[in-house]
Amino acid sequence: MSPESQPSAPAIEAPATIKTGAQIVVDTLVELGVETMFGYTGGVVLPLFDRLYDAPIRFIIPRHEQGGCHMADAYARASGKVGVVIATSGPGACNLTTGLGTAMMDSVPLVAITGQVRTDLIGNDAFQEADTTGITRPVTKYNSIVKDINDLERTVREAFHIASTGRPGPVLIDVPVDISVGKCKCNGKAAIDLPGYRIRTKGHARQISMAAEAINKAERPVLYVGGGVVSSNASEELQVLAEKAHLPVTMTLLGLGTFDQRRPESLDMLGMHGSAYANYAVQECDLLIAIGARFDDRVTGKVATFAPHAKVIHIDIDPSSISKNVQVDIPVVGDAKHILMELLKEIEYRERGPWFAKIAEWKKKHPFRYDKRAKTIKPQYVIDEICRQTKNEAVITTGVGQNQMWTAQFYKFVRPRQLISSGGLGTMGFGLPAAIGAQIARPDATVIDIDGDHSFNMTMTELATAVQYELPIKVCILNNGYMGMVRQWQELFYNRRYSCSYLKNPNYADVARALGAVGITVDKKEDVPKAVTQMLAEKQPCVVDFRVEREENVWPMVPAGKSLSDMDGLTILESMA
């Protein structure tokens, strides 16, 4: 739905019909184009599930509401549509919170519908009562409880509108059971009424001209691109801008895929575990053009010394992102796609030979590397091999930790919505349910969860969901036995005292088989290519347990609070050349 298209009152009143609340919800979902939903049943949502029983909506039942919420989230990230998840009151709603927080931090359009106890019981500590709107307020873009059935249809429409427009985000609607079973006259045309919700789509013309002028003049510019370019479907415009103006492009974790990483202008990811060449370029640039990115601390390092020589342009739809962490010189508030299209009209090509020569030198000196001569399975090698065999075209989800950072470093993404990873909240356990959601959104794509052993442990029960719905997802566990990222910090900053970062793992291939999936164990380096080939050929969910080098570290690394150019590990990387 475009931001401006708030449905207005129909010219001719449609004939009113009497509907139950549950009917209103489900009919409105269908009318809004919802084809797939995720969720879990329970007492107070029974009326809703009864209506869903014969609705034209595909329903996916996870094994845990958190999994369902991640599935809906990844479905949204992979497709660009709104993800929908439903849960019962009390424990069901509480189980959604991690998923809502994940979607909130990464600005994912999601609508969550929760059941609630009867309105006359609210506040009485009724069975399975929780203050759902209270609990979820900080992890949603908006939420509301419907206490009058006459508000229900409008509230559902508003939820989709809010979730999908502006800076997208999760919206929760809490529906007491008496509202679901109640009846009211309804004409299926309730108009949205949100006087406090206005979105600026078009950028200010003068600001755009100022930005264009700064770009045309810059000698050492860098484009710094985040997930906002994905949300706004502006990847094509971004590529044109980079070509037309001749600009190097670095991306955040969530921005990966917006610019083809095989192109020479790509500086890959920046930040704590970003490339040395991206970090150096940011620190030396004279103009930083941020688009749909929010200057997160994992990206900026020490803010006071971030991009010290740069004038900063910031294009973002959320005015509150501007100058929140880093002072911006030329803010342009609006939708990235619109703004880029306007900006392109005023952009001129500039060679910037010395700048690109310098970047080429950094790239040559400090590529992402690992020890290819090692006898053990290096986790980076597994990702390299997956990237090679899938020809850069797979949809990849990740866990959190080293597995996630290596994926960002070694898989070279070529299109938006290809990497689905929990960036802002850093939610372990996201990878597997996310792969399920992504596979449902993209049935023909190869979907691979590149996961950590302990991240996988958190939600591995969802493998049963993948089996039930016959989804050919692949799970590659980079099994180092450790909470690797935690262990790395303990190695570097806590005297190798590996406190509580080790767990005894099950045999994942056995677990996979017990749940009805294919399980493969790989403990020899030479078996890696064959295992990847076999995995890619599988039609069933397939788990590959790669027993990787246990104490491998992610390099380079900007220690927390240090400047971006203060990277550790560069000499270690050079020694692997």
């Binding site: 509301s144 409880i145 406090g196 959320d318 509150s320 100058s323 929140k324």
Partner: protein, 163 residues
């Protein structure tokens, strides 16, 4: 520095919790927060006094505007504005001291709203500085109780009037 921020919000349940929660979550300091009805039954006005430098207050303003039921946000800093507090104050006053206290009340254009055996309750309204000054002059007698509304404010159209 203190800023007076005025927010017009939809009169819906949960709005106050949302605004208060946002302040707590982002670590902004509230000096006072007043909510009241407006001429439109669908809208309430929140007047929030925040302490912070310009950058923080700019974030406060943006984060408030981001809350969906918040319809309009204004920062009164640097603008011509009428700002008022209302206070009820209960002062320990024995009968023999009444005349001098009443003279003070007169000076501050307060009203006596209740008289007890040993106390006087006074209503005073005005700019915060005046309220604080009145509290100071009452201190020597002994203050039993103070209730203050917090600041409400409106921008000036003309130029006449007090302060």
């Amino acid at each position: 520095m203190k800023h007076i921020i005025s927010a017009l919000v939809e009169n819906k349940p949960g709005v106050l919790a949302h605004v208060a929660g946002m302040f707590a979550a982002r670590g902004f300091n509230i000096d006072s927060l007043v909510v009241g009805r407006t001429e439109d039954p669908n809208l309430s006005r929140m007047t929030i006094v925040v302490i912070g430098d310009d950058r923080i207050v700019e974030q406060v303003r943006k984060q408030l505007a981001r809350i969906i039921p918040v319809v309009k946000v204004q920062d009164f800093a640097g603008k011509a504005v009428v700002a008022r507090d209302l206070m009820l104050i209960n002062i320990a006053v024995p009968p023999e001291k009444r005349p001098e206290v009443f003279a003070l009340i007169e000076m501050f254009r307060g009203h006596v709203v209740d008289i007890g055996q040993k106390s006087v309750m006074v209503e005073v309204s005005g700019p915060e500085t005046k309220i604080e000054a009145f509290i100071d002059v009452c201190r020597p007698y002994g203050i039993k109780n103070v209730a203050r509304t917090g600041t409400i404010a409106m921008s000036r159209q003309g130029t006449s009037g007090e302060d």
